[in-house]
C-alpha cells in the first residue's frame, strides 16, 4: 500500500464516522426515522475489506450497512437523502438505513433479516461459478447471525459446491443486547467453519491492515481456488444496537476501554509515525470531510419528498410474459417499468471544498506524533 492509499483509507473511515455522527444528530432531530444502526467503531472492517475488492466484485451485507456503501464509493448525498426519506435517495426513499443498495457498484445492499442474506451470497457465488468468471462475493454480518439456520445452510453449500464467497463476521460482541457469551455455545465464532471444512481466521477488526491482509488472502482463495472463507473480525460498536438502545447491558468502562483502540485513531497514528503525515494533514482532511457533510445535508434539505404515486413503482418488472391488460388493473403493475433504475451520478457540489488528494510529501522533520483528530464518539 502506498502512502496516498493509506491516507485515502483514513479519509474513508473518517467520512463514515462523520457521516454517522451527523446521522445520529438528524435522528435526534426527528429527520431520520425508523431504525438507525450505526457502524461507529467498526469502520476498519468495511473499509479494509472494500479496499481490496475489485470494482466488478459483489458485496451483500446486513442492516448496519452505511459504511460499506460509503467505502464502495456511493455518493453520501444519495445515502443521506435515503435516510431522510427523500425521493433523491439511493432507493428513492423506499429502503432507509437498512437497505443501501448500489447495484452499479456490485452492492446488493443491507438486509434487514438477521442471517437472511447469507444464502443470497451463496447464490451470487453460484451465479459467478455458472458464468465462469473470476469475480468474488463478500458477505458481511454480525455475530448474531451465526446462530441462524441460514448461516449453516449457506456455509454448507458454499463449501460443498466451492463457491467464491468470503463470509465476514463482524463480531461486535453483542447481538442487540445479548452478549455472545449468552448466545453462542462456541465463543470463537470462526471455529464454526470447521464444521464445514471451510478455511477460517480470526482477525483484529480494529486494525485496518490486519483486515486488509486477511481479506486479501480470502479473496485470492475465492478467486483462484473458488473456495469460501469465514473470517471473524473482532470489533466493537460504541453506540447502541440502534438509536433506541441505551446500552444498559454493558459498562461505560468497557466502552471506554474499547475506544482506546479506535480504528481511526490507530490508523491516524500509523500515518503520523510511518507515513510521514502531519497532524495538520489529518486535521485538514477532517475539515474537508466535515465540509462535505455540510454539503450533503444541504443537498438533502433541497431534495423533494417522494410523490405518493411513486409508492406503486418498483414492485414489478414490466414484462411481455404477463397479460398486462389484466395486470394493469393493479397500480403496482401499471407503474412497472421494463428497465432497472440506476441512481443518478450527481454533479459535484458547488463551492469546491479543500482538495481531495493527499497533500504533497511533507518534510519528514515536520512529522510529529500526537493524538489524531477527536474521533471517539
Amino acid at each position: 500500500m502506498n502512502r496516498d492509499e493509506a491516507f485515502g483509507l483514513y479519509k474513508q473511515m473518517l467520512l463514515i464516522r462523520r457521516f454517522e455522527e451527523r446521522c445520529a444528530q438528524l435522528y435526534v432531530e426527528g429527520r431520520i426515522g425508523g431504525f438507525l444502526h450505526l457502524y461507529i467503531g467498526q469502520e476498519a472492517v468495511g473499509v479494509g475489506a472494500m479496499s481490496v475488492m475489485r470494482p466488478d466484485d459483489y458485496l451483500i451485507a446486513y442492516y448496519r450497512d452505511h459504511g460499506y456503501a460509503l467505502a464502495r464509493g456511493t455518493d453520501p448525498r444519495l445515502l443521506l437523502a435515503e435516510l431522510c426519506g427523500k425521493f433523491t435517495g439511493i432507493s428513492r426513499g423506499k429502503g432507509g438505513s437498512m437497505h443501501f443498495y448500489d447495484v452499479a457498484r456490485g452492492n446488493f445492499g443491507g438486509d434487514g433479516i438477521v442471517g437472511g442474506h447469507l444464502p443470497l451470497a451463496a447464490g451470487i457465488g453460484y451465479g459467478i461459478r455458472l458464468r465462469n468468471t473470476d469475480q468474488v462475493c463478500l458477505c458481511f454480518f454480525g455475530d448474531g447471525a451465526v446462530n441462524e439456520g441460514a448461516f449453516h445452510e449457506a456455509l454448507n453449500v458454499s463449501a460443498l459446491w466451492d463457491l467464491p464467497v468470503v463470509y465476514i463476521i463482524e463480531n461486535n460482541r453483542y447481538g442487540m443486547g445479548t452478549s455472545i457469551d449468552r448466545a453462542s455455545s462456541v465463543k470463537d465464532l470462526y471455529q464454526r467453519a470447521s464444521a464445514y471444512g471451510i478455511p477460517r481466521r480470526e482477525i483484529n477488526g480494529m486494525d485496518l491492515l490486519a483486515v486488509r491482509n486477511a481479506v486479501t488472502e480470502a479473496i485470492e482463495r475465492a478467486r483462484t481456488e473458488k473456495r469460501p472463507t469465514l473470517l471473524e473480525a473482532d470489533t466493537y460498536r460504541y453506540r447502541g444496537h440502534s438509536m433506541s438502545d441505551p446500552g444498559k447491558y454493558r459498562t461505560k468502562e468497557e466502552v471506554e476501554e474499547m475506544m482506546k483502540s479506535d480504528p481511526i485513531l490507530l490508523w491516524g497514528k500509523r500515518l503520523l509515525e510511518q507515513e510521514r503525515f502531519t497532524q495538520a494533514d489529518l486535521d485538514a482532511v477532517d475539515k474537508e470531510v466535515l465540509a462535505r457533510m455540510d454539503e450533503t445535508v444541504a443537498f438533502v434539505e433541497a431534495s423533494p419528498d417522494p410523490p405518493v404515486e411513486s409508492m406503486y413503482e418498483d414492485v414489478y418488472v414490466r414484462s411481455p410474459y404477463i397479460n398486462m391488460k389484466a395486470a394493469e388493473k393493479d397500480p403496482a403493475w401499471r407503474a412497472a417499468i421494463r428497465e432497472d433504475r440506476v441512481p443518478p451520478a450527481l454533479p459535484p457540489p458547488a463551492p469546491a471544498a479543500a482538495p481531495a488528494a493527499a497533500p504533497a510529501a511533507p518534510n519528514p522533520a515536520e512529522a510529529t506524533v500526537q493524538a489524531t483528530a477527536k474521533v471517539g464518539s
Binding site: 446488493f108 445492499g109 442474506h117 451463496a122 447464490g123 451470487i124 418498483d314 404477463i322 397479460n323 389484466a326
Partner: protein
C-alpha cells in the same frame, strides 16, 4: 402434465444458458416426481444441481443468482417444505426490487407440487397459494392442464419477476394435448375451460379438474355450467371472471385451501362488488374442511372439495 413441464424446462434451458435448476433430487435421482427427468444428462451438474435437504439455501441461492442475472428454477420437492424457505421468498425475492428503488430484479421461478396427494396426512397435503398470493412483488401461477403447464412455465422462466409456480401432484399423470409448435401462455390470463349459461364456477389447479367433472354430471340434470380457470392468481385476470358471472348471474368459487382467508374469498369479494347487479344469488365457496388433513382415506375424501360438494353448491346458487 409431467412431460409438459419437463419439455418447458428442457426447451428453455436449451434456449437460454442462464437458466438452471436446483433442488432436492432433481439430478441423479431424476426428480422426486420425475419432472426433471433426463435434464442432468443433457445439461450437466452446474445447471441441474442436486442440493442438500436445505430449502432455505435452495431458495436463497436462487434469489442471489437471480440478482446477478441468472434465471434459476428452484424446485421444492413439495410446497409443504417451502415454509422453510418463506423468508427467502417473502422477505427477499419479493422485496429487493422495491427496497432498492428499482435497482434489483429477481427473475426466478420456485416450482413444485402443491396441495393434497394421496394419504400423506397433515404436513404433506397443504394448499398454500393464498400465502404467496398475499404478497405484493410475487407472481403466482397454478396450471390445471398439460398445455397450460408448459406454456405458463415457459412464461414464468422468461419473466423477470419472481414467479411461484404451483403444480399439483395428483395432476402429474393428467393427459392432455400440448401443441407441437413453440408457444407460451402469458401469466395473468384466465381461460374458460368449459362454456355454459347457468352458473359460473371459478376454480384453479386440481379443483378445476374436479369442477369440470361436476359440470359433466350437472349437465345430465340440465344445468349448463361455465368453468373459469384463472390459471394465475397474482396478477388475477378478473375481467374474464366478471364477464362470465354477468352472463350466468351465479357464481361458485372452489379451492383446495382452507376457507378462512383463502384466495377464493378474494375472488368472491371482487365478484360480489363488481357484479352485484348481475348476481341472482350470493357467491358460494367450496373449500377443504377447516382442519388439518387427516390420514384415513375416508376422512381425506370427506376433507377435500369433491364433485358432490361442488354440485351441492351449484344447486344452492340455483335455489334447487
Amino acid at each position: 402434465m409431467r412431460d409438459a413441464l419437463n419439455q418447458a424446462m428442457r426447451e428453455e434451458m436449451a434456449r437460454d444458458p442462464s437458466v438452471f435448476i436446483l433442488g432436492e433430487e432433481v439430478g441423479a435421482y431424476q426428480g422426486a416426481y420425475k419432472v426433471t427427468q433426463g435434464l442432468l444428462a443433457q445439461f450437466g451438474e452446474w445447471r441441474v444441481r442436486d442440493t442438500p435437504i436445505a430449502e432455505e439455501a435452495i431458495a436463497g441461492v436462487a434469489v442471489g443468482a437471480a440478482f446477478i442475472g441468472l434465471r434459476p428454477i428452484a424446485e421444492m420437492m413439495t410446497f409443504n417444505f417451502s415454509l422453510l424457505a418463506l423468508d427467502m421468498i417473502i422477505n427477499h425475492a419479493a422485496k429487493y426490487r422495491y427496497m432498492s428503488g428499482g435497482q434489483v430484479r429477481c427473475p426466478m421461478v420456485m416450482r413444485g407440487p402443491s396441495g393434497a396427494a394421496a394419504q400423506v396426512a397433515a404436513q404433506h397435503s397443504q394448499a398454500f397459494e393464498s400465502i404467496y398470493a398475499y404478497v405484493p412483488g410475487l407472481v403466482v401461477a397454478m396450471p390445471s392442464t398439460p398445455k397450460d403447464a408448459k406454456g405458463m412455465l415457459k412464461s414464468a422462466i422468461r419473466d423477470d419477476n419472481p414467479v411461484i409456480f404451483m403444480e399439483n401432484e395428483v395432476l402429474y399423470n393428467l393427459k392432455g394435448e400440448v401443441p407441437e409448435e413453440e408457444y407460451h401462455i402469458p401469466l395473468g390470463l384466465a381461460e374458460v375451460k368449459r362454456p355454459g349459461r347457468d352458473v359460473t364456477i371459478v376454480a384453479w389447479s386440481r379443483p378445476c379438474v374436479t369442477a369440470l367433472a361436476a359440470a359433466t354430471k350437472l349437465a345430465e340434470e340440465g344445468i349448463d355450467v361455465e368453468v373459469v380457470d384463472p390459471r394465475t392468481l397474482r396478477p388475477l385476470d378478473e375481467d374474464l371472471i366478471f364477464e362470465s358471472v354477468r352472463k350466468t348471474g351465479r357464481c361458485v368459487v372452489v379451492e383446495e385451501g382452507w376457507r378462512i382467508a383463502g384466495f377464493g374469498a378474494e375472488i368472491s369479494d371482487r365478484v360480489q362488488r363488481e357484479c352485484f347487479d348481475a348476481l341472482d344469488a350470493p357467491v358460494i365457496r367450496v373449500t377443504s374442511e377447516d382442519v388439518p388433513m387427516p390420514y384415513a382415506k375416508t376422512l381425506e375424501k370427506a376433507y377435500l372439495p369433491q364433485p358432490e360438494k361442488i354440485i351441492d353448491a351449484v344447486h344452492r346458487v340455483m335455489y334447487r
